[in-house]
């Protein structure tokens, strides 16, 4: 299978701290890749390099390549908005835009001029709310402010909003860590149904969630990728001692 994303010799510095060290990875399409590792090992940083959020932080230096379908997303002729349109991010805490529920979903479609008329926008809003499993709960109050939703609903709204710009890749940085168990389940279920259409990369701290979701696992430690491979292999027959210790809950 042709990898969707290839990371080659990626190094990231925050000022003088060397945060990501010589990362080499291949992310496969139509699979869920789960990134695990202890706190501070660089998982968020890795995700941020994938949608070029890293450049929003002052004083960072990125070297190496990230190839999306063979094209380096850091090359000069690539438009950052185009990269972010193709790679959607589900943040740790849902962050609704200060506008109505419907407008949140329509926001991306409108800035990218993806629909030619209101009718189409409205149809897509409904479609993506359905995909995110939120439609039934909000169909009667689409014009309410998005902040009036519960946290779990807001996260599904963010999912709908992200999917509405028709990305190829979904990134999730601990997307369920701020949610209650039921809402987490909702999101997990959506991610599993969506994985045939998208390339999905999820950071998580919960081993059980990782086991439920993962097709591929990347295990990171102190800024390096220690072990990467199919979920079954990494979970059941970890080759590296650190991974074994982490899976055993030793740190």
């Amino acid at each position: 299978m042709q990898p969707h994303i290839q990371v080659k010799n990626l190094n990231v510095h925050y000022g003088r701290t060397h945060v990501l060290k010589d990362i080499n990875l291949e992310i496969l399409p139509q699979q869920i890749t789960v990134i695990m590792g202890p706190s501070g090992c660089g998982k968020t940083t890795l995700l941020k390099t994938l949608n070029r959020f890293i450049e929003l932080v002052d004083g960072t230096r990125v070297t190496g390549q990230i190839l999306l379908d063979g094209q380096d997303i850091y090359s000069n002729d690539v438009d950052v908005t185009e990269v972010r349109k193709r790679i959607g991010l589900l943040a740790q805490r849902p962050q609704p835009l200060p506008m109505s529920i419907a407008a949140n979903v329509a926001y991306g479609m409108q800035i990218h001029r993806m629909k030619s008329n209101r009718q189409e926008v409205r149809k897509s809003v409904q479609h993506y709310l359905e995909v995110a499993g939120l439609w039934e709960e909000v169909s009667h109050r689409l014009n309410d402010p998005a902040t009036s939703l519960s946290t779990g609903q807001q996260q599904r709204l963010c999912l709908a909003r992200g999917l509405a710009i028709e990305p190829e890749i979904i990134l999730g940085d601990e997307p369920t860590s701020a949610l209650d168990p039921i809402s987490s389940q909702h999101i997990e279920k959506r991610l599993l149904t969506l994985k045939d259409t998208y390339t999905t990369i999820i950071v998580t701290h919960t081993l059980r969630q990782a086991k439920r979701l993962a097709d591929q696992v990347i295990f990171m430690y102190l800024g390096e990728v220690i072990e990467a491979g199919p979920a079954d292999a990494v979970f059941n027959h970890p080759k590296v001692e650190r991974t074994q210790q982490y899976l055993a809950g030793l740190f």
Binding site: N51, F53, L56, D58, T81, E82, V83, R84, K85, G88, L89, A91, R93, Q95, P96, L97, P98, M99, Y107, G108, I111, H112, C158, R161, G162, I165
Partner: protein, 332 residues
Amino acid sequence: MAAPALFSKPEQGRPQDGRPYKLSISLRNRLNNIAARVFWLITLIPVGLVIAITVALAVRSAPILQSHSLVELFTGTVWKPFGGQFGFLPFIAGTFWVTTIGVILAVPPCLLTAFYLSEYARPITRNIMKPLLDVLAAIPSVVYGVWGMLVIVPFVQKTFMPWMSSHFGFIPLFASNQPTGFSVISGGVILAVMIIPFIIAIIYEILKTVPQDLREASLGLGATRWETITLVIFPKILPGIIAAIVLGASRALGETMAVLMVVGNVPQIPTSIFDAAYPLPALIANNYGEMMSIPLFDAALLLAAFILLLIILTFNVIATLVLQRILGRRGK
């Protein structure tokens, strides 16, 4: 071996100088209560001052209200203290003309600068520009006044007014009815320059309360910085921007020295930006303490002060309440 003094047990609970190690709980509580009460009293002083000033102005301006009706005072256009005619309309109109022009001129550069510093500028630019703006805010107003007389007034008279009247002179707003550059536009320009750093500082503070996550939510969907600013950040902080402008306006309303040096001080209702005017603060500053033998003159000037105080208080209170709500959200 002797233990370190810090950890040694006090003999009989008393150090050398005889002061007890511990104050009794009740004494500590009593001290606390006294301190709280003293602080409370000190905090009350400014409130008391505002009330005292307001009451004093009201009392001292009462005589004129007994002999003249409010309608007469507020709609009268003739100011002849010797003849007992006290029409405040020219002064109120002058105040609002100068302030309005100042605010209109100030708002666009304020918005652009504040958004630039907060959303686009690199940290180094920001660290240089912010203190510079604060210095600008600290320049005494008389210095602005002198600069206005030396630069703005001649510029208006020799360059801006002739150009405007030859191109737009047919519009009453831009008609040149008098030859000097001492005009509401000169006053407005000075005011704009004076309140710009102040408004920028407030808007910048408000922008800092916008969570980074919100910017990222928009940018992450492929929005540009500009789209994020116009579609997300601006609507979110609009109430704060309005409050900042109102606060700036209330500064402009009360600004005295710099304005009175460049507006011409003619008690008339301006109809063009090149007309002279006579704002309320200038009226008070120029006249109070002189010609006090004229009956009711003193009361009239204090009524002017009273009106000014009420307008500014209202502006300030509303704006401050709005801003408190916004800035108070920070950190949550």
